[in-house]
């Protein structure tokens, strides 16, 4: 169970450092929302260029847990679906591949928001 932990730590940590530098060097323009959006978009583009897959091979969760990994799943899903189903796959592939994550985010997000109160 402790497979890949060190690579995940190093790759994941390094990806987060890029986000930190983006925020600190561009203050105040770059908010957490901008970081998340650029990581998803960036991850998808890097995947399309074939540059993110190697990172996933090396870093495992270190590459899939950061939000760029969400972009990776979206783009990979879209490309695979295009291969199987043609152009309609471009629309279905990304969301299909990430359906579990999106549904989990909405469901758990709603659940926690209803169950807890903000502490301030």
């Amino acid at each position: 169970m402790f497979n890949m932990i060190i690579p995940a730590f190093i790759v994941g940590g390094s990806i987060c450092v890029i986000g930190q530098l983006l925020m600190d060097l561009t203050k105040p323009k770059f908010t957490p929302a901008h970081v998340l959006v650029s990581f998803v978009t960036g991850g998808a583009i890097l995947t399309a260029m074939g540059l993110y897959e190697p990172l996933v091979k090396i870093g495992g969760a270190g590459a899939t847990i950061p939000l760029s990994g969400f972009g990776y799943s979206l783009a990979k899903g879209a490309m695979e679906a295009v291969g199987e189903r043609g152009v309609i796959g471009a629309f279905s592939g990304g969301v299909e591949a990430t359906a579990v994550g999106i549904a989990a985010a909405v469901f758990f997000g709603y659940l926690m928001s209803v169950a807890f109160k903000p502490k301030g």
């Binding site: 169970m1 402790f2 497979n3 890949m4 060190i6 995940a8 190093i10 994941g12 940590g13 990806i15 987060c16 986000g19 930190q20 530098l21 600190d24 957490p32 929302a33 970081v35 998340l36 959006v37 998803v40 978009t41 998808a44 399309a48 495992g60 969760a61 270190g62 847990i65 950061p66 939000l67 760029s68 990994g69 969400f70 979206l74 783009a75 879209a78 490309m79 295009v82 291969g83 043609g86 796959g89 471009a90 629309f91 592939g93 990304g94 969301v95 579990v100 994550g101 989990a104 985010a105 909405v106 758990f108 997000g109 709603y110 926690m112 209803v114 807890f116 109160k117 903000p118 502490k119």
Partner: protein, 155 residues
């Protein structure tokens, strides 16, 4: 007492001067400290994710399924820690280290939704759930469709 003299007292600083002064007097972000913390916190979160994925693999899931289940579990953990009021403390320490992983995505969903519960369940919780998740899905899904198209036409 002064007579009704008109104007003159105006601060002797031009906007350009002032900009330079502001830069001089504004404390810089603690770059090195922030980077080290982001690396450590982000690394730890991903390492925890890896352990969870490994456990799913050990329980018989395929590598892809385990990765998906691991992501969902991390989302659950991020959402729970936000509800418990712990994630903002981690975020203050870890910066991007706790924003970039999916747990940070979950935090950005729960934090506004929970806080706007007092404005109702539809326009409060329901709408604010997507304050940050909305843009992420819009740009993520749109990019994936464009990628799919490009892939289609190149092949």
């Amino acid at each position: 007492m002064a007579d009704n003299n008109l104007r003159k007292p105006t601060i002797s600083v031009t906007p350009e001067n002032y900009k330079a002064l502001t830069q001089q007097f504004t404390p810089k972000p603690t770059f090195v400290k922030n980077v080290v913390r982001a690396f450590v916190v982000g690394g730890i979160i991903c390492a925890i994710g890896q352990v969870i994925i490994n456990l799913f693999i050990a329980s018989g899931l395929s590598r892809v399924e385990a990765s998906t289940a691991g992501t969902a579990t991390m989302i659950f953990i991020g959402a729970l820690l936000t509800g418990l009021g712990v994630y903002d403390v981690i975020g203050k320490f870890g910066g991007a280290g706790s924003i970039v992983p999916v747990t940070g995505f979950a935090n950005s969903i729960v934090a506004p939704a929970m806080e706007f519960k007092r404005e109702g369940y539809v326009l409060g919780v329901g709408a604010k759930l997507f304050t940050i998740a909305g843009p992420v899905l819009v740009y993520g899904i749109a990019t994936s469709i464009v990628v799919g198209f490009v892939y289609y036409f190149l092949n």
